[in-house]
Symmetry: C2
Subunit: 130 residues, 2 copies
């Protein structure tokens, strides 16, 4: 399993947006800015089962992610990997944790799409960085 | 042809990194931070014929791009489109223009990969934004 280099780990632990590339059923790619959580082994995203990107990764579980440092934009990290876990998250545990970390005010309410919330974990198989 | 909304045009004209999703020959996606130039109709990238992303888009010319605003990260723009033009750029006209715009010092020298430089233009077919 590839190791995230110590020098670039901050790109996963600071509240930076990761750009998630998925492949649509017709073979066309899609790119979405996402909140992420790195647990030391897997990269977690929150989404819902009603979104296109969920349909994409249900058909093609291989994804790619790139993150660059807004303060030093030539520092970046790219991961390619495979979706390893998809867990229902109707209580929005991951969503709430990420909203808090990324500074989005929820005002104590769960989002309207809570029943469809899922937590998706990607295991990196290839890491590149600069 | 989709129109870039006036409200989000700055995301293409400020020197922000765009995350380019391409699809590899084996169907796996790839994501790379890129410099871009928007000419009002086409989105231009500089790359080389020796890079993986060139091989990817030679096989699958459909790509996706996402750009978010580092100062207001919930503002973002996503484009999906098709590579319409690939032009040799051994004199590095586009590369030099982008290097200048993105504040990279070239010190008057062309990069070592100049003979392989190309300018790639993508025509958006779908635009989403928030």
């Amino acid at each position: 399993m590839p190791v995230i280099p110590e020098s670039h780990l901050d790109l996963l632990t600071r509240p930076l947006f990761a750009h998630l590339a998925t492949v649509r059923p017709d073979g066309m790619p899609q790119s979405n800015p996402m909140w992420v959580r790195w647990d030391g082994e897997l990269l977690w995203f929150t989404t819902t089962t009603t979104r296109r990107k969920f349909r994409n990764l249900s058909g093609e579980p291989r994804v790619a992610v790139s993150i660059n440092d807004p303060e030093q934009p030539y520092r970046y990290l790219e991961l390619r990997g495979t979706v390893e876990r998809i867990e229902p998250d109707p209580r929005c545990h991951l969503f709430t944790e990420l909203a808090d970390r990324y500074g989005r005010e929820l005002g104590g309410a769960l989002p309207g799409d809570a029943p469809h919330r899922i937590a998706v974990a990607v295991r990196p198989v290839r890491v590149t960085f600069q």
